[in-house]
């Protein structure tokens, strides 16, 4: 929900957002998490050498590189960030 959307809202917008938060926000987050995990796994397989994983970059990594570039900083942060069991809960 961006700044502009927020400004539009009055009481009903707030109620709508609240109901979304109760009913669907969790589902949206899980769906995004699932997709991100798949994408990040794929980047790890093809570009793992960037994190020091001993993978010899294949030819296809070079071909894919331009598409991966926008995601690299996010991917590195997500892969290297310390995680624990509580991350799976919320």
């Amino acid at each position: 929900m961006g700044e502009d959307d927020k400004k539009k809202g009055g009481f009903f917008q707030a109620v709508k957002e609240f109901v979304y938060g109760v009913a669907a926000h969790d589902s949206a987050r899980f769906a995004l998490k699932s997709r991100a995990s798949m994408e990040h796994l794929f980047i790890l397989i093809t570009m793992g050498d960037m994190l020091g994983v001993p993978i010899l970059p294949p030819y296809y990594s070079l071909r894919l590189l331009p598409y991966v570039v926008p995601q690299i900083s996010t991917w590195k942060r997500r892969m290297l960030r310390e995680k624990d069991l509580t991350d799976a809960l919320a």
Binding site: M1, D5, K6, G9, Q13, A14, E17, F18, V19, Y20, G21, V22, A23, A24, H25, D26, S27, R29, F30, A31, L32, K33, S34, R35, A36, T74, R77, R78, E82, K83, D84, L85, T86, D87, A88, L89, A90
Partner: protein, 559 residues
């Protein structure tokens, strides 16, 4: 006392707590700053770190923390009388509850969105992290056991509940299919599936479980315990969009509608409390201190909230000023939910309560929901079925999350021992077997006290982390430190008392058969939690001393 008066007191306490106490802490001590970049903005990845509107987060936080616990706790604790229960709910939420929820999210936000494992490593010690995480595993096991018991007792006590639960499951799976596979409109999906769930409640009244499967099976604890864990098994091993999430989605409407109309019903009927204000210091479950303070966990203070606040909400807050409405505001709303449950239990007749509490808290809750929805014209039988499915839904949504999480935890903790533990089915099976054992062999009120104790201990550990963080930053820590001391002493005392009661029965030979297994398992888990908490406390106090020394040295150098 009149129930409306209780609600008004609740509103006043919430208003003062939120508007003055929380605001003072937020402005003067934490110094929340709208211009400071939050982790959601700094590390935005569109997944976990994502700036989100405070209204959405308000709903998300409420949904994540308001399970069955704020309802069941007051229903059980009213056995000491409604006055101590009311006082603890109000004072617990005012002095401790919101402090923990708000400060956990603020601490995580100011530490780059780190979760509790990382924070305990950084702020206390490396050993603290390992102990905290193993503590969490057993804490979750107790949640599965306690909530499993609620599902079983509700399914046995109210024969309309199983059919309504089945229809809700079908509606949920159908919702997943409509949204994710058939790409149907969300409003259409919602209307269709919520109607299916509501029809299921009516069908439940027409086809009670004893008519469908026979009285023996309908009254069997084994049958419903296995049904509950099979349900959780599917939730843990199937893709989350296929089972767990859409069921929770449909269920949230059922719960929300029930609560909304139930509160309206209270205002229409405005009944007086019929149960005594105070019954005595020592009752069958144990003495009022410390046991009542762990029996009512959510609604006053709950460790679960700190996990949600730190690992979930803190990574989505787009503005530091939103932490107060989301962290503290939602806690006060949950306090009102606990008061709603207290009114439900307190306004029924003593004889009715005494008979119903033997069957479990779900029966009392359903009777109350039926009564207050009845004020709006819903037939009593339908109202009871509605209340029973609300209770099951509230318990089972947390249970399925817990079992799924225990599957992951088993894989994390034991995959080095043998690769078989990496298998999703093995991890889920282990979690389910442990959960079923607790449900079938433990007396539910002791199990609830142990769960409450673990939950409150988690809260005191969260407050310990917050105190260490505040001390490390040189901020005033008294508002988190003293609640932590109170919670720590109370919960350790409660766990020792309960574990000792359980194990002394085992050692004296007073229990046999199923109860022997249940008492031994619960007693040992209780003692493990105490041990883990004491080690953590030692580490925590070493950290406090370290921060004090650093501050004293810095002050001396400055002088």
């Amino acid at each position: 006392m009149n129930s409306v008066f209780v609600l008004i007191i609740g509103f006043i306490v919430s208003f003062i707590g939120y508007k003055f106490y929380a605001k003072r802490i937020d402005t003067n001590i934490i110094k929340a700053d709208a211009k400071r970049a939050t982790p959601a903005k700094m590390y935005m990845d569109g997944v976990e770190f994502m700036p989100t509107s405070k209204n959405i987060l308000f709903g998300y936080q409420f949904k994540s923390i308001a399970g069955a616990a704020p309802i069941i706790g007051p229903i059980i604790a009213i056995q000491w009388g409604w006055l101590p229960a009311l006082a603890w709910i109000l004072m617990g939420a005012f002095f401790i509850g919101w402090v923990q929820d708000y400060s956990s999210s603020m601490m995580a936000m100011r530490n780059e969105g780190a979760s509790f494992g990382g924070l305990s490593h950084k702020l206390i010690s490396p050993r603290a992290r390992i102990i905290l995480l193993s503590f969490i595993y057993f804490y979750l096991l107790l949640i599965a056991g306690a909530f499993g018991n609620v599902v079983v007792s509700t399914a046995i006590g109210l024969k309309a509940a199983p059919m309504a639960w089945l229809f809700l499951t079908i509606a949920g799976v159908f919702a997943g299919q409509m949204i994710y596979r058939w790409k149907k409109d969300i409003i259409l999906t919602t209307v269709v599936t919520v109607v299916i769930a509501l029809v299921g409640i009516w069908v439940g009244t027409q086809l009670p479980s004893d008519k469908v499967v026979g009285a023996d099976l309908a009254n069997s604890r084994w049958v419903w315990a296995i049904a509950a864990f099979v349900f959780c098994y599917f939730a843990a091993v199937l893709p989350i969009w296929r089972f767990a999430l859409p069921i929770n989605y449909v269920a949230s409407y059922i719960v929300f509608l029930g609560l909304f109309f139930g509160v309206i019903g209270i205002f229409i009927l405005h009944p007086n409390f019929n149960l005594p204000a105070y019954t005595g210091f020592n009752i069958r479950i144990g003495p009022i201190w410390p046991i009542m303070f762990v029996t009512i966990a959510c609604g006053a203070i709950s460790g679960w909230h700190s996990i949600v606040s730190s690992s979930g909400t803190a990574r989505q807050l787009e503005n530091e000023l939103d932490a107060r409405p989301v962290g503290a505001g939602v806690m006060f709303v949950e306090m009102m939910l606990a008061l709603f449950a207290l009114i439900i239990a307190g306004t029924i007749l003593p004889a009715e309560y005494a008979a119903a509490i033997q069957k479990g808290p779900g029966v009392i809750f359903s009777a109350g929901v039926s009564r207050f929805l009845g004020a709006l014209g819903l037939p009593a039988e339908l109202g009871r079925a509605y209340g029973s499915v609300m209770m099951i839904v509230l318990a089972v949504t947390i249970m399925q999350l817990v079992i799924r999480f225990m599957r992951v935890a088993t894989s994390e903790l034991l995959s080095d021992v043998s690769p078989i533990f990496r298998n999703a089915h093995v991890g889920t099976f282990i979690a389910s077997v442990l959960g079923i054992t607790l449900v079938l062999t433990g007396w539910w009120q002791y199990l609830w006290v142990l769960f409450g104790g673990a939950n409150q201990l988690m809260a005191s550990l969260a407050l310990m982390l917050v105190s260490a963080w505040l001390m490390s930053e040189g901020r005033s820590a008294a508002w988190a430190f003293y609640p932590m001391i109170f919670m720590f002493i109370t919960t350790i005392a409660a766990l020792i008392y309960t574990s000792y009661s359980l194990l002394s029965k085992v050692l004296s030979g007073a229990v046999k058969g199923e109860a022997l297994v249940g008492n031994t398992l619960m007693g040992l888990v209780g003692f493990f939690l105490v041990l883990a908490a004491l080690v953590l406390a030692t580490e925590g106090f070493k950290a406090f001393r370290r921060y004090r020394t650093i501050r004293a040295e810095a002050a001396a150098a400055k002088a």
